[in-house]
Amino acid sequence: MTTLRAESLSYTTPQGRTLLSDITLHAADGETVALVGPNGSGKTTLLRCVYAALRPTGGRVLLDGADLHALPVKARARRIATVPQDADAGGIELTVREIVAMGRSPHHRFWEADTAADDTLVREALARVGIADLAARPFPSLSGGERQRALVARALVQQPDVVVLDEPTNHLDIRYQLEILSLVRELGTVNLLALHDLNLAAYYCDRICVLAGGRIVAAGPPADVLTAELLREVYAVNAEVGVHPVTGAPTVVYLPPARVTATS
């Protein structure tokens, strides 16, 4: 049983800009928690604190009660996998298979080669995200969506307890948006993801945390959080929120700025 907790987390840049203040959230096994909010609201900063690319300037991130930032780098990598928003392979080209196989790194001593079992995991993960045929291609030659799926495959072979995803559906076709989010849900891991699409968040996530100006302004089950009033306040948009007849999840329909409506 894994639990992830952020306790009154804050982050101020060395230049003195406060990007996060007093963030508290928690998630347990099998739970998928979405971070939503306008651009610059602190979603990526929060995720980077959670996967320890940033050291918070206040508060703690606890994994099963232990301070995440006190864990050795490698032990942490065995437990938390990250799917970054934009992957960049630098000027040097590894193949898709090699990039995905890197997910096995935290499970090996640095001088050990991958085993046949590792190769199988990599093959299965590539098939699961639908890019088995791209395995031998140079990673930088892939489209944005294909890269994103390769990075999800890398997170799969990492066999983590927590998966942190930053806009995992960004470059994806609708079909793969749905497939990737379904896949992430099936893992049974603690999933924390930043999402732009409120309808996807409402359907796929157990809870939604709404960030604005580096603070959590609302948190809870999608039906409680997603209200026309909140959307107006946080995003400055008019929207109609209903319940979808098929999925039963809240659905958001945005209304053009001119046509203000009173319905909710």
């Binding site: 320890a52 690319a53 934009d86 392979a89 040097i92 590894l94 890197m102 790194s105 031998a136 930088p140």
Partner: protein
Amino acid sequence: MTPRRRYPLVLGVLATVLVAAAGAGLALGSVRIPAGDVLGIVTGSAEPGPYRTIVLDVRLPRVVLGAVTGAGLAVIGTVLQALVRNPLADPFLLGVSSGASAGAVAVIVLGVGAGVATTVALPAAAFAGALAALVLVYGLARRGGSMTGGRLVLAGVAVSYVLSALTSLILVTSAGAEHVQEVLHWTLGGLGGARWDMLALPTTALTLGTLVLIALARPLDLLLVGEEGATVLGLDTGRFRAGVFVLASLLTGILVAYSGAIGFVGLMVPHAARMAVGAAHRTLLPVAALGGAAFLVLADLAARTVAAPQDIPVGVLTALTGGPFFLWMLRGRRAGAEGSPA
């Protein structure tokens, strides 16, 4: 054929080329020795004679030093390219070799130790110079957070020039005009002075260094996905990078202490090796080492035959091929692929 399948084939071809190049290096020169005689001398079946002295005491140590230096520079280039995530890195272009030269020359001129002490002091000073230059260039290129390829190469070339100039200055002002030859050796590199008794240290360093780096293939691969990417995959990037900095500088220092600053081998060979077998270091490093050895043995053969009896510093030839190669790489790079984090 996938790069991974191509690996044994590439190794075989390169080993053959290296042996052929070494053979040619023993046979050709100011005196041309028939292949049959060379074979006899190397296998030990030939009678003692003048040919024997030329092959065993003059040409063979030079060929071995060339192979060791070429292999080492290619391995260092490969590793530096991973460290800075940029295929334009090279020990010479990043000022590391020039730093080593400056360190070595400082020791020679200051006369720190004579005899036995020099064999330790010279490589040690070259190592210190190499490390200082590498840290300086890396620091300059990274200033303000992210590092772009352009900034790295500019910083490297500037530091390289300053250190080369410093080397020349020290040598020219220290004593008489006979130092011109030495200036050429230290700033352009040359294998002309090779003797048997100077091969032990570079050969040992190359062998150990390359084996260690091949063992580090996995973390070296991780560096290619950037600092944050490598960290979330379990690599302590700060410590690892510092360790590899020291190792690469040590190897550069030891090689440069014997051969001077030979440029562009560490740029061209890793690039070609990557095209042949891909970027994964476990297969890339052995291919780069063999390729670098063969390349420098051939370049040195050309250096002492094209204008015979003039012995051109081998660095002149590697620069003549490497410079255009660098420009070609610069031109072929996609816009925005500068190794900056996205």
